[in-house]
């Protein structure tokens, strides 16, 4: 527990630990490789281009949701409203299928609704300094409740996942490359460049690393936080559209099961929940690791309960190993 002991340990191995600390993605890719080898051993011949396509297709929405958590966690926050916003987005788009504007109108509507939810989150957290956990939790109740109300009012009109969403969410080019990468790659480029090269990205790190120093150097944290939670909610809505296309279902609780994995993806990816450290690259690998892990546990023929137990245990072990290697808490 003593801080001085920890510092000494850290200094003595600063070389390789420093490498892992600065480039957390290297051990993570190693872990991903080990899992892929394990799955190939468990079921020889399963790993191939098509399998990779399936894994990537399933990882993309999780990586986007993990991205929401990553951005929020960089500032020391968390966004528990992503699942409700994502489910709402897929569901409302499906109910607006037969509206005059069609799918495009539906998508615009849900992106605007998501942005409003994010704006309120940001105002609560940035201006009124409500704890992010509670603010986004409350928002998730509000969004889920309103989505339920909307559902009851639309029972007669019927709903269906639009063909275009199914296409982008679930089909693949030449049976290998999933089309959802068309959304994911530009989004990723935007986030990576945004975090590394723009002033706004540095402000996110600054607020999370040392809020007092950030304030003293003239950062208006509330503005940064409002923009952050709007971005997070819009990304969640996009992920929700892809998930409803992938699963061909529109339900107000569709994405609920992905809430905790989205946090796990960011954490495994090396983003510190305490703020100031991490990045989106690690989260993408984290999402891939979680997807491959789920696939591995399925291939091993384990029943669902055992899979859940192992899934949780492995997250603890990876997070613990990660904390040890990078000597950060």
């Amino acid at each position: 527990m003593s801080a001085s002991v920890r510092t000494n340990q850290w200094l003595s191995v600063v070389g390789w630990r420093g490498l892992f600390r600065d480039r957390p993605i290297i051990p993570l890719i190693g872990l991903l490789g080990v899992l892929i080898v394990a799955i190939e051993l468990a079921d020889p011949g399963i790993v191939g281009p098509e399998w990779a396509g399936v894994i990537v297709r399933a990882s993309v929405p999780l990586a986007i949701l993990g991205g929401c958590q990553t951005l929020a966690m960089l500032t020391g926050g968390i966004d528990l409203s992503v699942a409700a916003v994502a489910s709402m987005s897929g569901f409302v788009t499906a109910t607006l299928l037969h509206s005059p504007g069609g799918v495009a109108q539906g998508i615009i509507v849900v992106l605007v609704v998501a942005a409003v939810a994010g704006l309120l989150n940001g105002i609560g957290i940035g201006v009124f300094r409500v704890h992010p956990l509670i603010m986004t939790l409350g928002m998730s109740f509000v969004v889920l409740g309103l989505a339920n109300v909307w559902q009851l009012q639309n029972v007669q009109t019927g709903a269906g996942v639009p063909d275009s969403l199914r296409w982008i969410g679930s089909t693949t080019f030449a049976d290998v490359v999933p089309y959802n990468l068309l959304v994911f790659i530009p989004l990723t480029a935007l986030i990576l460049v945004g975090l590394r090269r723009t002033g706004y990205g540095r402000l996110l790190y600054a607020i999370g690393d040392n809020p007092v120093a950030a304030r003293l150097s003239g950062t208006r944290a509330w503005q940064v936080l409002i923009v952050l939670y709007v971005i997070s909610a819009v990304m969640a809505a996009i992920a929700g559209l892809l998930i409803s296309g992938l699963t061909n279902t529109a339900s107000v609780s569709l994405v609920d099961a992905s809430l905790l994995p989205s946090v796990a993806a960011a954490v495994i990816g090396g983003t510190s929940i305490l703020g100031g450290r991490g990045g989106f690259g690690g989260t993408i690998v984290g999402a891939l690791i979680l997807t491959v892990l789920t696939a591995l546990l399925t291939v091993l023929g384990l029943p669902e309960p055992s899979r859940q137990v192992l899934f949780g245990a492995i997250i603890v072990v990876v997070a613990a190993a990660y904390t040890r290697v990078t000597a950060e808490t």
Partner: protein, 331 residues
């Protein structure tokens, strides 16, 4: 803990005012509760015995869950596995008690409570040993405990011993007092009051409010945290058992209790930053939330709006609280 205990001379006004000032939040909640009860009686003149009895039994699981969450939040942590622990202990109890004698049922309850302490200790030990943030460890453990619950029983079932049902259902003496309320108050008082008054309680608040300061004044942070999680495990198990008692079966799928317990704790005046608050506030908050939900049913509001209302109240109360806090800081 209390500044008053340090000074030897206390004026009368200090004795009267300081408990009020310290418990403003809880007193305000009690006021809100009173207003809500009057409001309920106005919109539903027939609200009476049945309503109060129903209220008693329906708040029991969440009230225990809120107490469980409060303990660990005071120590500066958070436990996202409470819902899963409730599901696990509830199915184990229901499965073992089915068709067994009362004596065996008592043994089951004792055994399950011990198991709850073990589960909590495991959570706490993992948090301390791995140095991974609480939220991540307990999040991952929520998968583990929920998986274990499904391993015990894949579908809802089992049964609760009749004495367990009798313990919480029905009135106690006066027809207005639900047994469930007595059970809640007595159990929480027996466990919490000695804890809060003793050395451990002091270190609990110390670790929660400033870990470094606590460490430097000789508090063992690791031990305090593990004990806090053990206590949380115990209360989460009581929540699980009351779930079994109120539904008379065990359900392996976790309910919404984890996040609702966090909400109740914060509404109840416990700071998520740790070191502040008690277990009484969260219990009142649970009652308030339940009455609001009941009122919306009486008013024929779409039950889904109840969820919206819960979110709005949660956010609204906290915004209100922090506005006051910010104003006070400016003065």
């Amino acid at each position: 803990m209390s500044a008053a205990a340090v000074t030897t001379e206390r004026s009368l006004s200090d004795v009267l005012v300081s408990p009020i000032r310290r418990n403003t939040w809880v007193l305000a909640l009690l006021g809100l509760l009173a207003v809500l009860l009057v409001f309920t009686k106005l919109i539903q003149p027939s609200y009476g015995l049945a309503g109060v009895q129903g209220l008693g039994i329906s708040i029991l699981p969440l009230a225990f869950a809120a107490v469980a969450q409060a303990v660990v939040v005071i120590a500066g942590g958070v436990d996202l596995s409470i819902g899963s622990v409730m599901a696990l202990t509830s199915v184990i109890a229901a499965s073992l008690m089915e068709g067994q004698s009362d004596a065996f049922g008592v043994a089951v309850v004792v055994g399950v409570l011990l198991l709850g302490v073990v589960i909590g200790t495991t959570n706490g030990a993992l948090v301390v040993i791995t140095r991974v943030p609480d939220i991540v460890v307990t999040l991952a453990m929520s998968f583990v405990w929920a998986g274990c619950a499904l391993l015990v029983r894949s579908a809802p079932g089992g049964a609760a011993s009749p004495w367990l049902l009798n313990l919480v259902i029905g009135p106690f003496g006066n027809p207005w007092i639900p047994k469930a309320a007595i059970v809640l108050v007595v159990i929480v008082a027996i466990i919490w009051i000695p804890v809060a008054r003793g050395r451990f309680g002091l270190s609990l608040y110390a670790v929660g409010s400033n870990q470094l300061a606590a460490f430097r004044s000789g508090v063992s942070i690791g031990r305090t945290k593990v004990l806090a999680y053990a206590l949380t495990g115990l209360f989460a198990t009581l929540a699980g058992l009351s779930l079994t008692a109120s539904t008379s079966i065990g359900t392996p799928v976790p309910g919404p209790y984890t996040l609702e317990s966090v909400a109740a704790v914060v509404l109840g005046g416990v700071s998520l930053a740790g070191g502040r608050g008690g277990v009484f506030g969260p219990i009142v908050a649970v009652v308030v939330l339940q009455i609001i939900q009941n009122d919306m049913t009486f008013l024929n509001v779409d039950p889904n709006y109840a969820l919206v209302a819960q979110g709005v109240i949660l956010i609204g109360v906290l915004v209100f609280g922090s506005v006051i806090e910010i104003r006070r800081a400016r003065r």
